[in-house]
């Protein structure tokens, strides 16, 4: 980890609190708090050997838990005493007997309510001597995630946004998150990454133009001191090797900026281009009529498409197509370009989803059967992240 500050969090064995209370009864004054002392000592040593400063607000948190098996049963008398506030549950999990409820905070709380004579009788003042030293049970490193933002392009079909696995087999060979995420993971050496895009497109749909905004959250990054040049190198490499998945404006972003991605998904409009097949070529009147309608907004009522109905609520959504134009290519093939509100199902608009999307390109053409052959997203009108200036 290339951090400059750390914050050390220490978890002491539970018996320490009881022993401190016992000493308090003995000496009639509060003893030095062991936990803070240990925390300070460890922090100081770490600071010296690793050249970091100790700061409780640090982005790098180290959780150290100590255990001491010899005194593990010290708090039992608190659970057994009359009027205890500690509630424990014993159960068997995965073949191992466990007991829960005797947490540190529960013990401290109950200890405050327990009278001195009980501590004296059941436990002992001063506390019983011990033979073994406490040892480290675990050490967990937690660092604030690093966020890398950008816009991705998908220049070929059959690429999903994230790895698509059905019944243990990969359905698509590539995924956007892996092509862009893996090099980033190697560069900043994080535990794992998670990609969030501003909306999605189907695996068989390309994402062209300037790409779709996304961010990748990298958990527990080791190296955060990354130059823009290093990041741009990843972007350049993908572009120069003609990768099917490319990115633009790749850069490190602030955690607060990630909100923009999700907000954009719901409010921003998208531009599409599709190849459409009509059962009977349209007359020029029909074509003109459709284009005239398309120059103004078209309101749609879309019932949840059958292809997603198994995992979405059945609703009818009102969506607007802000602009549409239809051009004849040759024979039964037409090219349609659409600008639509976020959340519009374009494929269903073309073929009508068995009449469940009204109107549809099929219904507008006088109920000629229409099907969508290819779909491309030309543009996602959310301006994020900002263009990288060299």
């Amino acid at each position: 980890f290339d951090c400059t500050t750390v914050c050390v969090n220490v978890e002491m064995p539970k018996s320490i609190y009881i022993r401190q209370k016992s000493l308090q009864i003995l000496n009639k004054r509060t003893p030095t708090d062991m936990k803070d002392t240990i925390k300070y000592i460890i922090g100081k040593r770490l600071a010296e050997s690793c050249c970091v400063a100790v700061d409780s607000e640090s982005e790098m948190q180290i959780d150290i838990a100590f255990k001491h098996s010899e005194s593990a049963g010290d708090h039992q008398f608190l659970i057994d005493r009359e009027g205890t506030t500690i509630k424990t549950r014993s159960f068997r999990k995965k073949g191992v007997d466990r007991t829960e409820g005797d947490s540190t905070s529960a013990i401290i709380a109950d200890l405050a309510l327990c009278d001195e004579s009980t501590v004296q009788l059941q436990f002992g003042v001063p506390p019983p001597a011990i033979q073994e030293a406490a040892e480290i049970d675990s050490m967990v490193y937690r660092r604030k995630s690093l966020f890398v933002g950008g816009r991705y392009l998908k220049l070929e079909r059959n690429i999903s946004q994230t790895p698509f696995v059905v019944e243990g087999k990969r359905v698509t060979e590539l995924s956007v998150s892996e092509v862009i995420g893996d090099p980033i993971k190697d560069l900043i050496r994080c535990d794992s990454y998670n990609m969030v895009g501003s909306g999605r497109e189907d695996a068989d749909v390309r994402m062209l133009g300037d790409g779709r905004p996304f961010y990748i959250e990298c958990t527990n990054p080791r190296i955060t001191n990354i130059t823009q040049e290093q990041i741009s190198q990843i972007e350049r490499h993908l572009t120069e090797t003609g990768s099917a998945v490319q990115c633009r404006r790749l850069q490190i972003i602030r955690p607060e900026d990630t909100k923009i991605i999700k907000e954009g998904e719901e409010h921003k409009t998208k531009h599409y281009c599709a190849l459409v097949w009509f059962a009977t070529p349209l007359s020029s009147e029909t074509l003109d009529k459709i284009n005239r309608l398309g120059s103004e907004a078209i309101e749609l009522d879309q019932a949840t498409p059958i292809r997603v109905l198994h995992r979405r609520a059945p609703l009818v959504r009102k969506r607007k197509l802000l602009h549409l134009d239809l051009v004849h290519l040759e024979g039964h093939f037409y090219k349609v370009r659409i600008e639509s509100e976020a959340g519009t199902y374009i494929k269903e608009f073309v073929h009508g989803d068995l009449g469940r999307t009204v109107p549809s390109l099929s219904s507008l053409s006088g109920n000629v059967t229409a099907d969508i052959i290819e779909l491309d997203v030309e543009n996602v009108s959310l301006d994020f992240p900002p263009v990288v200036t060299e």
């Binding site: 062209l208 133009g209 300037d210 198994h310 059945p314 602009h323 290519l329 009508g352 059967t369």
Partner: protein, 219 residues
């Protein structure tokens, strides 16, 4: 508002030659549905049973309300030739949802039966189907169905009533209100004239199509 057109977008070219196979669609426009669905066929055990039962009921009602009426409704309108089996289609999407409707060789859609069967005048969804309110992702309130459960009754102008069955085990997700409003869709827009969408109780294709056939063979 002027649309900003990216110069690149004008360059999207589609390789139409790759789609030569779509020529086959020109003659059978409904074949595009095969891209999206796996089609199977179902036939109710005794297709005229409901028609006969409905006739019986009418007869009983008439007897109780007007004893002097001597006409026998169950005699009309008996078709002179036996009707072809009432085949329904089951179109299953990749996500297993099944769309059910009348196959093109169903008596109601078979032009050669028009004379005896008549034209559809009313599409009446069964009471508990019409009343059910399906809500949410988990599809709460959905009516449970067995393959032979009647989902809808179709009335013709010759007094015949055909029962449309669920064809699969599952929950009824949606019934086609547009069809109920516009029964003519059966003739004008067959692909929009589905009756219902059913979510099967299992993901196993063999079990889903337990009562279905690959082809509508004459039984």
């Amino acid at each position: 508002m002027e649309l900003v057109r990216d110069a690149r977008s004008v360059d999207i070219e589609y390789d139409l030659a790759a789609y030569g196979y779509l020529d086959a669609w020109k003659d059978r426009p409904m074949s595009f549905l095969d891209r999206y669905f796996t089609t199977r066929y179902y036939c109710a055990p005794s297709p005229d049973a409901t028609a006969a039962a409905a006739a019986q009921k009418r007869k009983l009602d008439q007897l109780t309300s007007d004893p002097s009426d001597t006409s026998d409704p169950s005699d009309t309108p008996a078709p002179s030739d036996p009707l072809p089996p009432a085949w329904q289609y089951v179109r299953m999407a990749p996500n297993k949802l099944c769309v059910i409707g009348l196959a093109s060789m169903h008596p109601l859609l078979d032009s050669s039966c028009q004379a005896s069967v008549g034209r559809v005048v009313r599409v009446e969804f069964v009471q508990h189907v019409a009343d059910a309110q399906v809500r949410g992702k988990k599809k709460r309130g959905a009516q449970r169905l067995a393959p032979d459960t009647p989902v809808c009754l179709v009335h013709t102008d010759r007094g015949l009533v055909f029962s449309v069955r669920a064809a699969v085990h599952g929950q009824l997700i949606e019934w086609n209100a547009r069809l109920a409003e516009t029964p003519e869709l059966l003739y004008t827009h067959p692909e929009q004239a589905f009756f219902a969408i059913i979510k099967p109780g299992t993901l196993d294709n063999t079990k889903i199509f337990d009562r279905c056939h690959e082809q509508p063979n004459i039984l």
